[in-house]
């Protein structure tokens, strides 16, 4: 049986021997606020619609955005777009379309 955890990548931010970065800076660049000090390890996922890598914030309370059409977690930006258009256009589709257009042009 497949688990969505099979999609998870891995992020290591190791500041055990470093002053690290301020929580404000970490939050400003989209990382969990505690990612900037000590040892931070977190799973990530790659949005299937745009390939943006999302760090799974263990403190997140809101549900993660999920696309049932492609059976994959998606980023908040793509979830917002999908809520408007209802369209699931995966990055794999974009790749195939790009490659097909290139092969037709030759």
């Amino acid at each position: 049986m497949n688990s969505k955890r099979r999609h998870e990548g891995y992020l290591l931010v190791d500041h055990r021997f470093s002053p690290g970065i301020a929580p404000e800076l970490a939050a400003a660049v989209g990382m969990p606020a505690n990612a900037g000090t000590g040892l931070f390890e977190a799973p990530t996922y790659t949005c299937s619609h745009c390939q943006r890598v999302v760090v799974l914030n263990p403190n997140r309370l809101r549900p993660r955005e999920y696309c049932a059409k492609c059976n994959h977690y998606i980023c908040d930006g793509c979830a917002k777009l999908k809520a408007v258009t209802g369209e699931c256009r995966t990055f794999k589709q974009i790749i195939e379309e790009t490659q097909e257009a290139a092969s037709r042009a030759t």
Partner: protein
């Protein structure tokens, strides 16, 4: 094709805003597809701090809205090497570079894929993709055909080394 590693031994990147020319030798590396249908997967990116003082560094892997043109070359400290010794070279491999003779790469505002912020004074940051979840560079036109690792504005970039593992299909 087998996996390869793009590795920059040591460099102090320059913080550069989105949609602004990435000046030669101020970013670790960029990768550009060799043909309209070529696809390259990025499996791993790692940055290791080498600075001698605290330097919060905002590094991002992003697609480029303007692709580099002209002769694309590398610093002497930037290498592109196969991970496995018997790897056969592709006839048209993707180009790893951090110097462009004509147009410079420009980071796309909306297509930042991975944020690897860290303190280059002793910090280490590493991202690994799950199988099938890699970041892809497709074709050789904007904005899918080129990705760059560079410093964004807001920090004080410090000396670092970086590598990226990739494979062309």
């Amino acid at each position: 094709m087998a996996k390869r590693s793009a590795s920059h031994k040591t460099l102090t990147p320059t913080a550069t805003a989105d949609t602004t020319d990435l000046v030669d030798s101020t970013y670790p590396f960029a990768i550009q597809g060799a043909s309209a249908s070529q696809k390259t997967n990025i499996f791993e990116v790692e940055l290791g701090g080498q600075a001698g003082a605290s330097t919060p560094t905002i590094m991002v892997l992003a697609r480029d809205s303007q692709l580099a043109t002209g002769s694309l070359t590398k610093d002497a400290t930037l290498n592109d090497a196969a991970l496995s010794a018997p790897t056969a070279a592709l006839a048209a491999p993707p180009t790893i570079f951090n110097k462009a003779a004509t147009l410079k790469p420009r980071r796309d505002t909306a297509l930042t894929l991975l944020n690897l912020s860290f303190n280059a004074f002793g910090g280490i940051v590493r991202w690994l993709a799950a199988q099938g979840e890699e970041i892809s560079v497709v074709g050789n036109t904007a904005s899918l055909g080129e990705a760059s690792l560079s410093a964004f504005t807001g920090g004080t970039p410090g000396l670092l080394g970086a590598h990226m593992i990739f494979e062309t299909e």
